[in-house]
Amino acid sequence: MGTSVVEVDLLVKEYGQLKAVDGISFEVYEGEIFAFLGPNGAGKTTTVEILECIRPFTSGSAKVLGYDVAKKDDVKEIKKRIGVLPQAFSALDKLTVKENIDLIGDMYAKHLDITEVIEMLDLEEKTNERFENLSGGLKQRVGVAAALVSDPQLVFLDEPTTGLDPKARREVWTVIENLKKMNKTVFLTTHYMEEAQLLADRIAIIDKGKIATSGSPQELISQHGGHKVLVIRKGDKKLAGMLTDKYGQTTLNDHGDIFVKVDGVSEFWKVMNTLTDMKTNNEVEIQTPTIEDVFLKIVGGRITEEGELKR
């Protein structure tokens, strides 16, 4: 692990009785993609905006790139060094892609060449297109370009793919993967499990203002994801009953799929051998647990497409 670029200690943000951020502590290391995964209202954006120095907090401490977000002089230094794609990013409608990126660039004493940034995000064809005429995915790409134009050390991407169609989402993912190659540290917030699992080096699952757990996707899955599952297609009650007798609880769904938990290689082969002995010719498949399983276990619910938690 590299040096810490973000250090948060017992951070609290209260709105009257409500604790939007409830004493969280975490670190983000240089060069990694760190993801805050949680439903709407969990405190993701509140935390990120405290780190971006645009939201005051109640107690605790937070340092970004070694500077204290609570100190006025440090805030100036932080703002010079971070790039941000805010939640629901928008720009001046009547200005072109280039003009909007230029506008943000000109806010900094030094910035990258605009044409270079436009190329980096594959926006050449849209350079002189007005922002209002762009699709959702292109708008987000302009947002990322604006976040990168100052050549920041740390990039905050707050819900970068919310509201995008699957194709546009994948395009943005490619952009984020490229940031890592450019050696940027990325702080990502999302409510999409797949996004966090695919992109993040480390994930912190956040719910009700608290970090429920954190670690690399693999760590989280192996700790909390549960067993691998062998799926036997087109089975029946008889087969399911027999497998249950031998290997404990199995489930059969309406499509005739039988799910058998398998712990490790030896148990997998035992089940396979049983199936071979019975001369069955069913299709089989292994399902590995995902972050969604981790989330379900830790938080006790799923997140809908819109970001709402369903317990």
Binding site: Y15, K79, F89, S90, A91, L92, K94, L95, Y108
Partner: protein, 421 residues
């Protein structure tokens, strides 16, 4: 530097917005053309109709008497009236109504009575003799102590004869009858002109000299038309709406869409942002002024040349109304509510402040309301600066606009949130 960047971006964004252009530039242009055309009297006659029925004839049915003709001639010389003769034997009212037609406007009839000339001359003789008698009598009162008895008797006899002669002269006066519609707004003007000329006739005929000389000198070298009044008026009114309606709804929209938040994360300061917006408003308002002046020149042949004072005043006005706009957008979250409230403030102010109509003729309660409206001082100042070239009239208004500009820009800045809650 960042201020200039913001200024450029905001201005460019506005210039490319059709609705922005419409309300800030095109709408005032239309208004100037409409108001200018309606009120400058293009296509209409500015003189009033006056029907004269002259009953004073030399012989019955013959030609009018010399004095009555001279009187009508004197009225004609004023060029205030479009005089039409009514035949002596006609019913003047119905004749005039027929002559005007249904849309002809107000009926005004002056009837010169029969015997006008004789009565005027006869009446004059009696007045002259009376004046001579009074003068001699007064002289006698002073002189009697230095006169001997014979001289006194002669004087007294002479005065007595003179009084007797005057008493034999009949009391004569003549009359003019003016018939007016009670709703006629020009009634008092017409009455004054007609009696004024009648008085002049009286004095002339008794040979009196004008003891009081009435001298009239022009106060200004230029004569102003209605359009002259509207150019600074409409300009000032739209500088106001640009701040209170356009800037406030734009800022609220920027805030709602997170554009202000996005900029606040960069090293841009709140002051840079506010200054950039104020500069953009100033440029827009100078452009508007130039267009209004150009339009006045091209369409109405009105030549107004703005001076340095006008430009300073436009800057101060832009700051003041931008401040009010920012105050509104800072206090109101909802875009539609911001624009509704902006309209609710701007439109009554437009009409109550004297930007469109001179307040001298407004009821006193409106004048009181107007004193509380920032636009009143701005419009007044701009009119003094652009039109009357009267710096003394500009300074007070400029001081008030300047003070309000400071107050509102500070309040506007305080409510412009550069941080979330």
């Amino acid at each position: 530097m960042r201020t200039i960047t913001i200024f450029k971006a905001v201005t460019r964004n506005w210039m490319r917005s059709r609705s922005g252009l419409f309300f800030s530039i095109l709408f005032p242009i239309l208004l100037l053309i409409v108001f200018g055309t309606i009120f400058s009297g293009v296509g209409g006659s500015s003189s009033s109709n006056l029907f004269i029925q002259n009953l004073d004839r030399v012989t019955s049915g013959g030609k009018p008497s010399d004095l009555s003709t001279a009187y009508v001639g004197a009225l004609n010389v004023t060029k205030l009236f479009n005089i039409k003769d009514v035949p002596a034997d006609a019913n003047a009212t119905s004749w005039a109504r027929d002559a005007l037609g249904p849309l002809g406007g107000n009926i005004r009839i002056l009837v010169i009575s029969e015997g006008f000339q004789d009565d005027l001359l006869g009446g004059t003789l009696k007045v002259r003799v009376g004046i001579s008698y009074d003068t001699l009598n007064m002289t006698y009162q002073y002189l009697q102590f230095s006169l001997n008895d014979t001289e006194k008797t002669m004087f007294e006899q002479g005065l007595a004869q003179m009084r007797q002669y005057n008493e034999t002269l009949p009391d004569r006066s003549t009359s003019l009858t003016l018939m007016l519609d009670p709703s006629d707004q020009s009634a008092s003007v017409i009455r004054n002109v007609i009696t004024g000329i009648a008085n002049a006739f009286n004095y002339q005929l008794i040979g009196a000299q004008n003891v009081i000389q009435f001298n009239e000198t022009a106060v200004t070298t230029t004569r102003f038309s209605t359009v002259d009044f509207y150019v600074p008026g409409i300009t000032s009114a739209f500088i106001m709406t640009n701040g209170i309606i356009a800037l406030s709804s734009n800022s609220t929209e920027f805030k709602r869409r997170g554009i202000i938040k996005r900029l606040s994360i960069t090293p841009l300061t709140r002051m840079d942002w506010i200054l950039g917006n104020v500069l953009s408003q100033t440029l827009l308002n100078l452009m508007l002024t130039a267009i209004m002046i150009g339009l006045g020149w091209l369409v109405f042949n009105v030549r107004i040349v703005p001076d340095a004072l006008s430009i300073i005043l436009i800057f101060l006005g832009s700051v003041m109304f931008s401040g009010i706009g920012m105050l509104l957008s800072g206090l109101i979250k909802d875009v539609e509510a911001a624009s509704a409230i902006g309209n609710a403030i701007a439109f009554p102010m437009m009409f109550l402040s004297g930007a469109y109509f001179p307040l001298e003729f407004a009821p006193s309660y409106i004048q009181t309301i107007a004193k509380a409206l920032p636009l009143t001082y701005f419009a007044d100042g701009l009119r003094y600066a652009m039109l009357y070239k009267y710096p003394e009239g500009v300074y007070t208004n400029m001081a008030i606009v300047g003070a309000l500009a400071i107050v509102f820009i500070i309040l506007g800045s305080l409510v412009t949130r550069w941080k979330e809650k």
